[in-house]
């Protein structure tokens, strides 16, 4: 039983890590804790419903549609809602993202109706068994794509000029401005990427379960994941995601499914009390 639990924990954790990476990117670039990230996951799921189930686009086009639409939504949100609040109190900015998630949820339920939708994609749904462990192909694919995205972003940050500018902006806004970086543009791109990563997570979660606004709760797990890993640390976000996936699966298998979230949030509280800079963050940055 344990290998089975570990496998699904790591597979789910990879998806969480992807969503958490988007969350951490937005936080690092713009200092905004995006409580709408969970809703961005849902948006991704319903973009997949629109393209695949309603428009009957081929799968490759569906993927492109999701990425482009999610990027535009993220950029538009930065331009319309986040930028005007630059320099405002933390509560205002947190609250605007919360209000945004309320609005997005309402819009989705109005457009698509409150019933969950099944996703029809050609993604493999079979299972193969290795030494008694049921390996779901979809889980494997989700984990594989997540790791591919993570790898691509690592290369992007390391080797491109724009990636360097994003890292610099995350390091200090005013410093970035005096160095000639178009900080506003960098921020917009960060929001676009954050939204795309959440949407890809949403695509997989919708295929694993169903597309519904219930996925928001799963998307919001990115929040504890990022903090547990270290709010300022990009690798920390990914490891945090894996950890949350493992904890969830272990708790629901060995304790009870209802208790899964509690273990995660209790760990979050413990980390905040004992090691606010996170398991992989740097100490000096832990306090605000």
């Amino acid at each position: 039983m344990l290998p089975q639990v570990l496998f699904s924990g790591l597979a789910l954790g990879s998806i969480y890590g992807l969503v958490a990476l988007g969350f951490a990117l937005v936080f690092k670039a713009t200092d905004v804790l995006n409580f709408a990230q969970g809703m961005f996951v849902v948006v991704g799921a319903f973009l997949a419903v629109t393209a695949g189930t309603q428009l009957h686009l081929p799968f490759a086009l569906t993927l492109m549609f999701i990425v482009v639409a999610a990027a535009l939504i993220g950029a538009a949100i930065q331009a319309l809602l986040i930028r005007p609040l630059t320099g405002r109190s933390m509560l205002s900015i947190i609250m605007v993202t919360i209000a945004l998630s309320i609005v997005l949820r309402a819009l989705i339920e109005i457009i698509f109706g409150p019933q969950p939708r099944a996703l029809t994609t050609p993604m493999p749904t079979g299972v193969f068994i290795v030494e008694g462990v049921r390996i779901s192909q979809l889980h494997m694919l989700a984990a594989g794509v997540s790791w591919l995205c993570l790898g691509l972003f690592a290369l992007f940050f390391r080797f491109t000029t724009f990636g360097l500018q994003m890292r610099a902006t995350a390091n200090g806004h005013e410093a970035a401005l005096v160095s000639g970086i178009n900080v506003d543009f960098v921020n917009r791109v960060a929001w676009a990427i954050g939204s795309v990563l959440a949407a890809i997570g949403g695509l997989f979660l919708a295929q694993l379960q169903l597309a519904s606004t219930e996925l928001e709760g799963i998307g919001l797990l990115a929040l504890p994941a990022v903090v547990i890993g270290g709010l300022q640390s990009i690798p920390g976000a990914i490891i945090g995601g894996l950890l949350v996936g493992l904890i969830e699966q272990l708790a629901s298998s060995y304790v009870s499914p209802r208790s899964a979230d509690i273990f995660v949030y209790t760990l979050l509280l413990l980390v905040l009390m004992v090691r606010p800079w996170g398991l992989f963050g740097q100490r000096e940055l832990g306090r605000v």
Binding site: A106, L107, L268
Partner: protein, 364 residues
Amino acid sequence: MSGEQAAVSAAPAVRPARGWRAPVLLVLGVAAACYLPFILTERAIFGVRLSNMQLLNIGLTQVNLMMITLLGALSLNYLTGIAGLISIGHAAFYAMGAMAGAVFGTQLGLPFPVVLAGSALVGAATGVVAGLPSLRVRGLYFVLSTFALHYIVVFMLSEYQFRFFDVVGIPFEEATLGTFVLDTPLRWYFFLLVLCVLVYVGLRNSLRTREGRAMMAMRDHELAASAAGIDVRILRLKAFACSSAIAAVAGTLYSYYMTNVNAEFFTIDFAIQFVAIIIIGGMGSLAGSLVGAAVWLLLPAVITGFAAQIGSTDSAFGTLLTESKPQLVNLIFGSLVIVLLIFAPGGIAGIGRSLRDRLSVRVR
């Protein structure tokens, strides 16, 4: 603003140094607040029948629930707007209140006033625990700790519910104050009205004390407050205890009013509604909490009214109104919060203040 809002808001609004106007407004306010429930139950004003539309589809039950929500909003505004501590887990204190009510009332059968007092104590204790992280972390990190706390407390409530009761929820008996049985919405109305006024006046007065001023100093500038010889840490815990005691009592009242409570009621959205209310009304303005709570009450009612009028026609808009009413309410509520945050960070109370200033300047 509609008549009933003005009625409720005028009652506690004792503004000093206005000569004859203050007492007259007070008397009018009290009179209006006392007459309001009769308008709503008899659906008539001074004998003139009013249609549901004219009453904005509001019944007394909604007003009562608004007052219970107002208690939560007041306590959060005190914590966030005045003491400067942000909590997005305020529903946790409501849940604690529900649990305390269930233990003291439903299980032990204690009298209602004792249950309320016990719930306040439990709430205050929870508040101190919830405030503990504030001794160690600030800002975002603290907000996150209230977020985590929410999930933990609600989980405790659901475990408790499943241990001693069932999926349906926790039943609550009729509340009685001595011989006064709170068995009709009308009786609840007057009980809640008195309670709201007491809490409002109490919080208002507490702001004028040395500690109240210190609290606002702490919100505006923590270092300055520390330098002025205030132990900021103790003050923070006190603010938390006070706020969560009020919220817990509101949670108990909510449970008794609903007569049956389920752990599933206390979602994170439930907590967020309080934050939305104080942002709409105006952060740091206790009177603003009332305005925010009124918007929260009126919005669904107005949309229901619209739906009733338009819904009979076959238009797409009519179907939208009838079929997606809760979504529409959320859409408007959320958009209102966003628009206010961007264009009027002081909320409706802030807009009111700047209008008043502009008017008084013109008069002079």
